[in-house]
């Protein structure tokens, strides 16, 4: 930085500033980004709640009178809306994470992989939407297992983007990933080892509670110091 040209002034900059400014921006962005990720945790908690709540609501007598086709359409429609809403929020936040990663890569003098990631992202998102909606309209063991496998892909995506957005990953990020992977592991265990389908619901309910806690903490509990001021 040139002497006498503080950040608030309008003095000249030179090349020696740029990396230091980018580092300062990244420190600020960390706190900002943590608050934004609250939406990610919250929307997936709501979506997973919806996946379990919809079949429960459809089992009521007023809905039971509907034909199988109507059941299927309501079920698939609600799940599609939930999944697409969650993915829209996710894509916005993933995009933000990628752009932050670009700045960090540039600061470190490393190349970023812009050309591949958009294609990969579209392919994975399409697979997730089709997979989750298809699987959630069935209620047999295979569909539960396949649904959990798709959510495992999502949790890996979550971990990847947390790594891109943050260095190091904040505590609520680790909690969210652990709850997600833990729910999948418990779900598989209860379905395959103990033949106990209720374990699947309990595991996901616990994950939803943790995710809502992560959302609340990252929105309201992140200290101001995290903004790097």
């Amino acid at each position: 930085m040139n002497e006498g040209s503080g950040p608030g002034g309008s003095g000249d900059s030179d090349y020696t500033d740029l990396r230091a400014l980018a580092r300062r921006f990244l420190a600020f962005e960390r706190g900002f980004l943590r608050r934004q990720w609250a939406a990610y945790y919250a929307i997936w908690a709501c979506a997973v709640t919806g996946y379990f709540l919809v079949p429960f609501l459809l089992s009521f007598t007023s809905f039971a009178a509907l034909s199988a086709t109507a059941h299927y359409l309501i079920f698939a429609g609600v799940d599609a809306v939930l999944t697409i809403a969650a993915l829209i929020v996710s894509v916005l936040i993933w995009g933000h994470a990628e752009r932050t990663f670009d700045v960090r890569s540039a600061v470190d003098g490393r190349p970023s992989l812009t050309s591949y990631r958009n294609l990969l992202r579209i392919a994975i998102i399409l697979a997730l939407v089709v997979g989750i909606v298809t699987v959630s309209t069935r209620s047999d063991l295979a569909s539960y297992l396949l649904g959990d496998a798709l959510l495992l892909v999502l949790s890996l995506f979550l971990l990847l983007h947390l790594r891109r957005a943050f260095r190091p990953i904040p505590v609520e990020g680790w909690l969210a990933v652990t709850a997600f992977v833990g729910a999948i592991a418990c779900s598989y265990g209860s379905l395959l080892l103990f033949d106990y389908p209720l374990g699947h619901e309990i595991a996901w309910f616990a994950a939803v509670v943790v995710w809502l806690g992560c959302a609340a903490y990252s929105r309201f509990g992140v200290p101001d110091e995290a903004e790097g001021s």
Binding site: Y15, L18, R99, D102, G109
Partner: protein, 119 residues
């Protein structure tokens, strides 16, 4: 008569010098604002104040400079918490941001000021 030798400037630095020779980026506060809007696309005045550590008047001046250069748009939006001033990056601003990132990437690692982060 001997011609005076001009020191050769390495490519990335020459290119960065060109970026900084443009008035709108000749300020660390304006570079911070451009980096921030490049990543966030849109930011509120309050957040930009926290980022840049500028006084309100100073930040308004920087935003005006960048807006006049066509790099961002400043508007007032109405939210549940009342009216808010937000700055949004334009297409031209995104191009300039990409240029900054490219330059940053091409800068030799380790070429920075000793007091790297201004307080």
């Amino acid at each position: 008569m001997v011609a005076e030798a001009t020191p050769e400037v390495p490519g990335p630095l020459a290119s960065l010098g060109e970026q900084f020779s443009q008035e709108e980026l000749r300020s660390s506060a304006r570079i911070l604002i451009m980096l921030s809007l490049g990543v966030n696309r849109r930011m509120g005045f309050a957040a930009l104040l926290r980022l840049s550590h500028c006084a309100k008047g100073s930040l308004s001046y920087h935003l005006k400079q960048l807006e006049e250069a066509g790099l961002l748009r400043v508007s007032t939006v109405f939210t549940l918490g009342g009216p808010r001033v937000v700055a949004e990056i334009t297409e031209k601003g995104r191009e300039r941001y990409s240029g900054l990132i490219d330059e940053l990437q091409r800068l030799p690692v380790g070429r920075e000021a000793p007091q790297s982060v201004p307080s």
